[in-house]
Symmetry: C2
Subunit: 320 residues, 2 copies
């Protein structure tokens, strides 16, 4: 495999166009970090949802990654509950913390309501209690600047935003946590190889040559946030590859932990693999009783991540 | 171009698996048609949103078609307003009639509400009026069985559902209308050529060979609903191709009309191209004043479609 098939991460940024709202994201992120740092509140960046890669410059078709954003949205709620403030960098229209339960009803949003004869609106009885609690938690998190929710659609929007947010947050050193749960595309079509207009279908077959997306975890860990606590995710469908791929990733990028999970069991079991060659993967799973009570595995995952992050902060302190 | 590159529509159904809920969709559609036919209410099938095609059997990645479902959702509202009942076959989680305005707020669903100190929920003042009207319209349409909303995600789910619904609705003859606004994939990877597990990214480049999706408009017009009123859509990014492609489609499939539109101007201008070689395309566009007042072009489109459908019904009657 010749090396020139691979694109260098920094070259990616010179060959692609940043999202229009990047300067807003930078400004809002700076304000958010300053506000929370003032009160000594730890901050986590949670990335969530899938990135898209266009197949055409005038985009009609794109390759998407399967992800509703469930893991990221629930995790953000538990980070908030654990005292963290959260930058929630998410795929536009994917699930958001607290909103997630109301985002995708079978009969649509309006099914939560009734109106009386005078036209005044009320929430149906069965939803009142949970909705009332979620509205308070969500509105308070926004008002108190504990939650900031920038969004992306394409891979390129995601990567530009990730780089800028990470460089800002990385300045907090060991106190900053990165929880990279977004499902990021592995392949894309470089701008200069993309079809200008909608690909025509009269030719019978379509051949696509896609290039590998540069591995951005490398500059993230080495130079954007070199002293921070970084957790990546590994999702596979073939269990035999899971631990080996997680260990290789830790070896290659040098970050602190990988959360490994299988596509079909990811709501019930995950493994935390730490950056040492000693410990076996830590399994976190729900019991049948917990599953029956709709307990969410992210509750357990975040408890453990917070412990690990605290140990990391303390070990950094003792080193200084 | 050799003919064996193309898959026959009927073969597609033997080579792919129907969605699990297909028998529910068939039963619900039959009931819906019977109920509306009893009251002499005309029925339109509106298809809406994009279909996905998986790149792997254990799906992590898929090719998607750009479509939020805006055209379909708004059109369904205006069909209801014009006295039609609507089967709204839509991409799951794409925009739905009446719900669409509340589906994608920047700050999420819960931003529409406030709670007071006792925990009771109310809708923020600025949304009350429009939301109250939409809740009534939506709930009444569902309760009165004027609106049925089956959904799909993949191309294959869409095609199986489309075939069954069309065969049932086609029995109404000229009184049935088909408004095929969904953005259907043009290319897919046949089951037997698909990767079983998540495609690995260590190889540097990805080559995909995709086959052309069979043209289902052909059996739809020729055999599933041969006496009904069928409108298809053509979306392009290159205007020079638009009319020619619309005319070719009418020639090839023999349906009644194509609504042609350009990706970047589709909210302001469309052209209706009728199945004759005489008339120029009918342009329907919004004036600047209408755009300023957030008038929706679907209002004008559906008014014209209803006229055309009525003429079609009358010409069928006079022929008998």
């Amino acid at each position: 495999m010749s090396e020139n098939l691979f694109i260098h991460p920094e070259n990616y940024f010179t060959q692609n166009t940043p999202p229009e709202n990047l300067s807003d994201i930078i400004r809002n992120t700076s304000d958010f970090i300053a506000e929370n740092a003032k009160h000594g509140i730890p901050i986590v960046l949670v990335t969530s949802g899938g990135t898209t890669v266009p197949l055409e410059n005038n985009t009609v078709r794109f390759v998407d990654n399967f992800s509703a954003g469930t893991r990221g949205a629930i995790s953000a709620e538990f980070f908030l509950k654990s005292g963290y403030s959260v930058i929630f960098l998410h795929r536009k229209h994917s699930l958001q913390p607290f909103n997630r339960k109301y985002a995708t009803p079978e009969l649509g949003f309006l099914d939560f309501f009734t109106t009386n004869s005078s036209g005044s609106i009320s929430v149906k009885e069965q939803y009142q209690k949970s909705m009332s609690s979620d509205i308070s938690l969500f509105n308070n998190a926004i008002l108190q600047k504990r939650l900031y929710m920038p969004s992306f659609i394409s891979l390129s929007d995601y990567l530009f935003s990730l780089r800028e947010i990470t460089k800002l947050l990385g300045k907090l050193g060991s106190k900053a946590c990165f929880y990279l749960a977004a499902a990021v595309s592995d392949f894309f079509i470089p701008n200069d190889q993309m079809s200008e207009h909608k690909i025509q279908s009269s030719e019978g077959e379509l051949f696509l040559k896609m290039s590998q997306v540069p591995k951005f975890l490398k500059p993230l860990v080495k130079s954007w946030a070199p002293r921070s606590f970084v957790i990546s995710f590994k999702l596979e469908t073939d269990e035999s590859l899971l631990e080996e791929k997680a260990r290789k990733s830790l070896e290659k990028y040098g970050h602190q932990a990988v959360i490994a999970n299988m596509l079909h069991t990811r709501k019930f079991v995950v493994w935390i693999i730490l950056n040492d060659n000693i410990q076996k993967p830590e399994e976190i799973h729900l019991t049948q009783a917990q599953i029956d009570q709709s307990f969410e595995i992210e509750d357990l995952i975040i408890q453990r991540i917070v412990q690990l992050h605290n140990s990391f902060i303390n070990s950094e302190k003792s080193r200084i």
